[in-house]
């Protein structure tokens, strides 16, 4: 009936037009009679009706464990009550999605997961449905085109026959080739029952009763405990001075040297930690980081940017040089941000168990990069990749930190050294001091406006370490600015740096959105009016802007001592406008009372996941704006735990956060990092509306706020 690879016109778009039937009655099949069959790699079906869908992605709180199976279940036309979810085997060829230049990956970064899996999982669901229909058509001896489905039931209207999906197990016939299902043969968004509907997240009950397992919770027979001491001078190599004394401590099984630290394996967690505390170590000083002090560095960035040209032009549109000179008025501002740390609640850790013959290893880890673990670890151990088994745990926060493999390699090496299973944890101090930070950076923005006050040219220069870590988000595709340039001056500090939720978008949107408001203020123009004009060629951005303004009642009188500020940003295809209302205490502490945000993120697969990510992104953004600051002096990280690296507490969370999602039938966009970029600009702009002064250095600590308030007002 079909040729491999061709589409098949079998009219399987005829999803039931009947009124909703009563919920499919579960087949009364006793557990001892259960038979489970594989339909495809993505779907297993049990004869009692249970449908197991395999989730290919790391679940780090963004809800993809539920959202991805929802996509598949929609096209499978499954009754959600029948659905059970399992983590997929880490098999990139089967369960990966195409990214980064058309290769398959199992990696969950950049808010790509729902976006990247949407079409593949619709196809996978439609194919699984096809296999069920194929089996039933053969069994009833009817044309497949006459079959319809509704929520786990197959129907043949003509003969009035019905069969539940569970019953198909008994008559299952997998066709030799499964056709690609054409888009026209998949559901139209108006027929969606699951996509776009609020469905309680599958694993939340286990996250309220203590049973949800993170890798730090794993227990294995004869499991030992490992820790490393990595110091707080990145790039330094250690020398251990008291190895004999450490080895002599009770329960210490091994001391394992690493290039950048010393590892200890012990019989209990407390013994490992006690030995770690007693290590006497010297650290090499002749490393680049030893020359780096973060506050001095920011000063040198300012010097650098006064030099003639950017080291590298990343993006150019029109003729910025000419337009900057030709405008009637010129503007320039500098913005800065300190290093910040991921502070995910579950410190890094992994459990590894190298086999007795050293030829295989089982790993338990929460990682954003499951697809890379087997090849990486195989190389470390000199074994075949198919002998590396990763058991993917829930992540107690990813945030960009958990996409490296370092902590997993550490656990593997410790296990290999002692030929025992080892649970290796990073203490909170380890996690902070040997973290990989959002880079220190500086943005210099220059603009010129024409006689009507329109921005003709915008030059955005970035100074800092990390290439794309600091360059992302510097472009303005949604603002009507005819001449634009993004320039980069790269500095290498020897400090470990990384993607931190929304990467360069945080600092760059802070700079851009603050700058827009500075120009607006100079022209006595309403920031909303300013952005309306800038977005006039972008109806989606405009609609998002208007929605946010409406939610926040922009333009209505604000209570005494309060002000509102707004900011816009696009990341991962999602357009986001945020507005906050603040007040200011004498201490210099800014209080955010309310936050409103509208987002256009294409098709919304799971609305509450989107709301939750928007809320959480706002809170995390606020934390980075108010509380978080890593300082480095001569290479030494000065902070060590939450007492000196505070993250936002409940008392500083907004009284209310209101989120609106713009209706759309476009493909889903990335939502996990959509709101974080607009927080700093919204707050800085509200502060300027309240005080007439500009905050240009993140974080806005009370001291910095008071310093700015004491400065002369701009003339």
């Amino acid at each position: 009936m079909t040729v491999a690879g061709s589409t098949v016109a079998i009219g399987i778009t005829a999803y039931a037009l009947y009124p909703k039937l009563a919920a499919s009655k579960k087949e009364k099949v006793a557990p001892e009679d259960w038979v489970e069959s594989s339909i495809t790699a993505w779907v297993h079906l049990r004869n009692d009706g249970r449908i197991t869908i395999y989730n290919p992605a790391a679940e780090m709180g963004q809800g993809s464990l539920t959202a991805l199976p929802v996509i598949l279940a929609e096209e499978l036309d499954a009754n959600w009550e029948d659905v059970h979810i399992e983590t997929a085997p880490i098999d990139v060829a089967t369960y990966g999605f195409k990214a980064f230049g058309n290769r398959k990956v199992m990696i969950n970064v950049g808010s790509r997961t729902v976006m990247g899996y949407y079409e593949p999982l619709r196809q996978a669901g439609a194919k699984a449905r096809y296999i069920l229909l194929h089996s039933v058509a053969l069994h009833w001896n009817v044309p497949i085109a006459e079959l319809t489905t509704q929520e786990s039931i197959v129907m043949h209207e003509t003969s009035q026959q019905k069969m539940s999906y569970g019953e198909v197990v008994d008559i299952l016939q997998i066709p030799e080739s499964i056709p690609e299902i054409a888009a026209a043969d998949m559901k139209s968004p108006t027929d969606f029952r699951l996509i776009g509907k609020t469905i309680p997240r599958f694993e939340i009950p286990t996250k309220v009763d203590g049973s949800a397992q993170f890798s730090i919770d794993v227990h294995l027979p004869d499991m030992h405990y490992g820790v490393l001491e990595r110091g707080n001078l990145h790039g330094s190599t250690p020398t251990l001075r008291n190895s004999e004394a450490i080895q002599a401590m009770e329960g210490i099984v091994a001391i394992v040297p690493f290039a950048y630290g010393i590892g200890i394996v012990a019989t209990t967690m407390e013994k490992a930690l006690a030995a770690k505390a007693k290590l006497e170590m010297e650290w090499s000083e002749d490393v680049p980081a030893a020359q780096h002090s973060s506050q001095l560095a920011l000063g040198s960035y300012e010097d650098l940017v006064q030099q003639a040209k950017a080291g590298k032009v990343l993006h150019s549109k029109g003729d910025v040089n000419a337009a900057l000179q030709q405008g009637s008025k010129q503007y320039q501002s500098i913005y800065k941000n300190d290093y910040i740390y991921h502070a995910q609640m579950e410190p890094l850790n992994a459990v590894a168990s190298v086999s007795a013959d050293g030829k295989g290893v089982a790993i338990w880890a929460g990682t954003q990069n499951p697809g890379s673990i087997a090849p990486t670890v195989a190389e470390v151990l000199g074994i075949e990749a198919d002998q590396v088994k990763l058991n993917l745990s829930y992540l107690g926060g990813g945030l960009g930190r958990r996409s490296t493999t370092d902590f997993i390699v550490e656990a593997v090496k410790l296990s290999e050294a002692v030929a025992k299973p080892v649970k290796m944890i990073w203490t909170r101090e380890d996690d902070l001091r040997y973290g990989m930070y959002r880079p220190l950076s500086l943005q210099q923005l220059e603009a010129s406006t024409d006689e009507a006050g329109n921005i003709m040219a915008l030059r955005h220069r970035i100074v800092g370490d990390g290439s794309n870590l600091i360059a992302s988000g510097a472009r303005n595709e949604f603002y009507n600015i005819p001449n634009q340039e993004v320039g980069l001056d790269l500095v290498e500090n020897g400090i470990r740096i990384k993607h931190w939720r929304s990467v360069g978008h945080g600092p760059n949107k802070f700079a851009i959105e603050s700058f827009i408001d500075e120009i607006a203020a100079d022209q006595a123009k309403d920031p909303l009016e300013m952005r309306r004009a800038l977005m006039k060629d972008n109806p989606k951005a405009l609609a998002t802007l208007e929605k946010a303004a409406e939610m926040a009642k922009w333009g209505s009188p604000v209570a005494e001592g309060r002000a509102k500020g707004m900011a816009f940003g696009e990341r991962s295809g999602a357009l986001c406008v945020g507005i906050c209302e603040i007040s200011l205490a004498d201490s210099g502490q800014i209080r955010v009372h309310h936050f409103w945000s509208a987002v256009d993120a294409g098709t919304i697969v799971q609305p509450d996941n989107v709301v939750a990510q928007m809320e959480g992104g706002i809170v995390m953004g606020m934390s980075s704006v108010f509380s978080e600051q890593l300082t480095i002096e001569k290479g030494r990280v000065q902070q060590s735990n939450f007492h000196d690296y505070p993250i936002l507490r409940m008392e500083d969370a907004p009284e209310s956060i209101e989120i609106a999602m713009m209706p759309s039938t476009e493909a889903p966009k990335g939502i996990g990092e959509a709101s974080t970029p607009i927080v700093a600009g919204a707050i800085a702009n509200a502060f300027a509306a309240l005080t007439g002064k500009r905050l240009r250095h993140l974080p806005f600590t009370p001291d910095r706020v008071k310093e700015v308030l004491q400065e002369e007002a701009p003339s």
Partner: protein
């Protein structure tokens, strides 16, 4: 190495460990009750919150030696048989957890509040819960869930 006898969730356990070992490691590693989490080890984050005779305590800063005879420890596992304490139900209804790592501690802290003050104001909720960090930023939902549970 001394032996310690402690009551956890209605059962008596004996563990052998040094006197300074925090209760957190006793619960998580010796007793394999891993619902109580390690977040900071210095009492700053609240992820390790348990009840000692009904009072919320940070297990990371409570040495095993500091648990007196007859004191009763409750962990998240002991809060209810079926995971259906009114607070747990409210947490599910409001879809509070994101990554979930802090939530055992949040729930234990919240339960203690409602046991003492069945109808707390928002200010009282925030004051009581402020020691529990949530990096995912679920604070507004936590407040709502506590209010939901209080009203149920």
């Amino acid at each position: 190495m001394p032996a310690y006898s402690i009551q956890v969730n209605g059962k008596t356990h004996t563990v052998n460990t040094e006197e300074a070992t925090p209760l957190l490691w006793v619960l998580r590693e010796h007793l394999q009750l891993t619902g109580t989490k390690y977040g900071c080890g210095v009492g700053q984050c609240g992820a390790c919150t348990i009840h000692l005779d009904g009072t919320p305590m940070r297990a990371c800063t409570l040495p095993i030696d500091g648990v007196a005879d007859g004191q009763s420890i409750t962990t998240i596992e002991g809060l209810s048989e079926e995971g259906d304490h009114p607070i747990q139900q409210a947490w599910i209804q409001e879809q509070v957890p994101q990554c979930g790592y802090c939530q055992s501690g949040q729930i234990m802290q919240a339960v203690a509040l409602l046991e003492k003050n069945p109808n707390p104001s928002r200010t009282e909720i925030v004051q009581h819960m402020n020691g529990n960090l949530c990096r995912c930023g679920t604070y507004t939902r936590i407040v709502k869930a506590i209010q939901t549970a209080a009203n149920s």
